[in-house]
């Protein structure tokens, strides 16, 4: 099958505060790319009329749950799917209230690009700082700020350019990777899908124009060293789909980064041995070569004790195991705070280990961008912790590999997901918010 003419997928997430017009923007994006079907549009028009509105309220296209319709707000991350002739999109639509920062973290964790909405009449507000900080923390490859309601200001060019300067200054402080701001009117559709005539001073592409030309994450991680966390060992024995595979033994997983070819050497961790790849199966069929993002099964030359949770990696990039994890966490649990001494389960790649939270090394103050000392992390807090784990983990700094540097904290009793964790390595210079949370001999570095 030709890959040239096949649409490629881009995962995007949206974030904005209440009344920034995010639902309208998403509705506009779906509508103007002709991804709204007749019955959906009719339903929206019907409800809009029953509410006494003159025109279809495009925000209704995305407000899914009954409580949301009743309250006119968005509660939970909603996933939207739309396509243009150039590419397909998975859009994680994240609610904007302060208490829903965890949703933005969730949406941003899988996003190739994050779209943050800013109301040009309000400028940068606390939620903007929070969303940009999340983009920096999560290392979202591309950040797009949609400067909305550009139709409502007198001197739109000055307002946009001043805001654009402030946004870039903030992005530099926070360590945001790539920021692009675009003046839009979600209500009128200016610069959303088509470049607008009403902003002749803006020569850049429309929002959709940007999105259609961004690289996706699987392309970005391909140049990194090869790493494959083992999900399961496939040994069919006598149950094999065909007798020729009764001796088959393969290590299955999704390639986290890099690429692998038959004949390559791989290091097995924690066994600490190196062997050779003798066979690659991609989704159930043999291949000579496989790349980041593909689900594969590798057969190896030597009989080594390998099980779920182990790591196959390029020998030159083999990691050291450690029973201490230093990380920045975003606390997601609205029932219980995080305290020193707390017992947790830590899920890293395909391995779940028991852990005990050591010191809380400072919470990020999003106003000052400084670390402050606190006794506990509450819902939506972002802070630095040290966690002792029962078995060595083979981690790398999150800034170097999202797959090997991310983890969840899980409540051992209830099974609730309590935190998103990003491994820090203080020997690596980390700019922005992550660097500001550096633990230096008990001092809160700023």
């Amino acid at each position: 099958m030709s890959t040239e003419n096949t649409p490629r997928l881009l995962r995007i997430a949206t974030a904005g505060s209440v009344d920034d017009g995010k639902s309208t923007l998403v509705g506009r994006l779906l509508h103007d790319t002709k991804n709204i079907l007749v019955d959906q549009l009719e339903a929206v028009e019907r409800v809009s009329r029953s509410r006494g509105l003159d025109s279809a309220d495009l925000a209704l296209l995305t407000d899914g749950l009954r409580a949301e319709r009743e309250q006119g707000i968005t509660i939970d991350v909603a996933y939207r799917y739309f396509a243009t002739p150039a590419r397909s999109f998975i859009l994680a639509d994240c609610p904007g209230h302060v208490q829903y920062t965890r949703n933005t973290v969730t949406g941003a964790s899988t996003a190739d690009a994050l779209i943050v909405l800013v109301d040009v009449t309000h400028g940068i507000v606390e939620q903007t700082r929070r969303h940009l900080a999340v983009a920096a923390l999560l290392g979202v490859p591309h950040l797009i700020v949609a400067v909305n309601k550009i139709d409502l200001v007198e001197d739109a060019q000055d307002a946009f350019e001043a805001l654009d300067r402030d946004l870039h200054a903030l992005a530099d402080d926070l360590g945001v990777l790539n920021l692009q701001s675009i003046p839009v009117s979600a209500l009128r559709g200016d610069n959303v899908v088509e470049p607008s005539q009403t902003t002749p001073w803006y020569s850049g592409p429309s929002l959709l124009g940007w999105l259609e030309n961004l690289p996706d994450a699987s392309q970005l991680t391909r140049s990194e060293p090869f790493a494959l966390p083992v999900q399961t060992v496939i040994r069919p024995q006598s149950a094999a789909v065909s007798p020729e595979f009764t001796d088959y033994r393969g290590y299955a997983g999704q390639i986290a980064s890099g690429s692998v070819a038959v004949g390559d050497s791989v290091a097995v961790q924690p066994a600490g041995r190196t062997t050779e790849v003798t066979r690659i199966d991609v989704a159930g069929a043999p291949a000579e070569h496989a790349v980041a993002g593909q689900s594969v099964t590798l057969s190896l030359a030597d009989q080594i004790d390998i099980s779920r949770g182990d790591l196959l990696a390029t020998p030159a990039a083999a990691l050291q195991g450690s029973k201490t994890v230093d990380a920045v966490v975003c606390w997601l649990d609205d029932e219980n705070p995080l305290r020193e001494g707390q017992r947790v389960l830590l899920k890293h790649t395909t391995r779940v280990v028991r852990g005990i939270v050591g010191s809380l090394d400072g919470r990020l103050n999003l106003e000052s961008l400084a670390a402050e000392s606190v006794g506990a992390f509450e819902l939506n807090d972002i802070g630095r912790v040290s966690i002792r784990v029962a078995e060595p983990l083979f981690t790398t700094a999150y800034t170097q590999s999202h797959a090997l540097g991310s983890f969840l904290l899980i409540d051992p009793q209830s099974g609730r997901t309590q935190a998103a964790g990003m491994v820090q390595d203080d020997s690596v210079h980390t700019p922005g918010v992550l660097g500001s949370l550096r633990a230096d001999a008990g001092e809160w570095a700023i």
Binding site: A43, T62, Y79, I90, T232, P236, V241, A285, T350
Partner: protein, 311 residues
């Protein structure tokens, strides 16, 4: 190198992965992750195109080992015969065990009563939950896609259900990166939706690309139908023409399979997967809006049924 037992796309070296390659890889990752963490997984198999694609992906995930869990069919007793025949043939080919939860059994012994309108989709919930409990299934795979409906758009890939099978949209676990949390307490289980990120167009593109077999009613055939509520319903054991309705013979196909009494057909000459794909590309109605009477009842119809433990 041996010939591939299942056709697939191969790894490109320079170009990006295609959309279907990314979706396929994600679904396989989800299968492997949840099957490894679960004790007794089961896959909900209706014979519908989504469950067929799901089974195809499960086979790839564990190849050359067989699929390491059984399939469960919630049998409304209002099945299209073509679908039952297809179901039995498929499980035999794949050497997997079939569990059946029969709505008819519940009606026969009085545990459930027939609804006034005669439709049975809503009656599936109790037999499904009982089968999950009896089978002690802790991981239950479903073929739901988020593009199907607004409530589904908000459901996670891993969806925790309490002992009543209920989904609480206000209490969903955040789902980060590709780190899935399947932990649950005794009595609870997780529903897993490996096709969450697929659209109807993706499903048909994949069926076409991979040459996946579907029950014959997905393709154009002649059938005696009546027009009801803007849909074509098949006349037969479960649907009798009403006084004002005339039976007509039309060339139709189905876009979903379900309870024969409320699943409508669309007029279509599409005889192959490629024909259907071409139709889907230009379609102007969502598949549920077009052919499922039970979702039209209220704007919140799907959300209500999900809360009750429906798929």
């Amino acid at each position: 190198m041996r010939d591939p037992p299942v056709s697939t796309t191969t790894a490109p070296t320079e170009t990006a992965l295609t959309q279907l390659q990314r979706l396929e890889a994600e679904s396989i990752h989800i299968f492997r992750e949840t099957a490894a963490e679960g004790e007794r997984p089961v896959l909900l198999f209706s014979g519908g195109k989504d469950s067929v694609v799901m089974l195809h992906l499960a086979a790839k995930a564990f190849w050359p080992a067989p699929i390491p869990f059984p399939v469960l069919h919630v049998d409304t007793g209002h099945n299209f015969p073509e679908v039952l025949e297809f179901r039995d043939r498929t499980v035999e080919q794949l050497h997997i065990r079939l569990e059946v939860a029969s709505v008819q059994d519940y009606l026969d012994d009085g545990r459930l009563t027939e609804r006034p309108d005669g439709t049975r989709n809503q009656l599936q919930t109790v037999p499904l939950l009982d089968a999950i409990t009896e089978g002690r299934h802790d991981v239950v795979y479903g073929g739901a896609r988020r593009d199907e409906e607004k409530a589904r758009a908000k459901e996670r890939i891993i969806s925790l259900r309490d002992e009543f099978g209920q989904w609480d949209p206000r209490n969903q676990r955040p789902e980060l990166w590709s780190l899935y949390n399947t932990r649950h307490r005794p009595g609870e289980h997780v529903r897993v939706f490996p096709l969450s990120n697929w659209t109807e167009l993706d499903i048909w593109s994949y069926i076409t690309e991979q040459g996946i077999e579907l029950p014959s009613l997905y393709y154009a055939h002649e059938r005696d139908v009546v027009s009801r509520d803007g849909m074509w319903l098949a006349v037969g054991e479960h649907v009798s023409p009403r006084e004002d309705e005339t039976v007509q013979t039309r060339t139709v196909r189905y876009r979903t399979v379900g309870d024969m009494s409320c699943t409508g057909a669309v007029e279509s000459p599409a005889a192959t997967a490629a024909d259907v794909l071409a139709e889907v590309r230009t379609s102007t109605l969502t598949e549920r809006g077009a052919t499922r009477a039970d979702d039209r009842v209220s704007e919140a119809a799907m959300e209500d049924r999900k809360r009750e433990g429906y798929f």
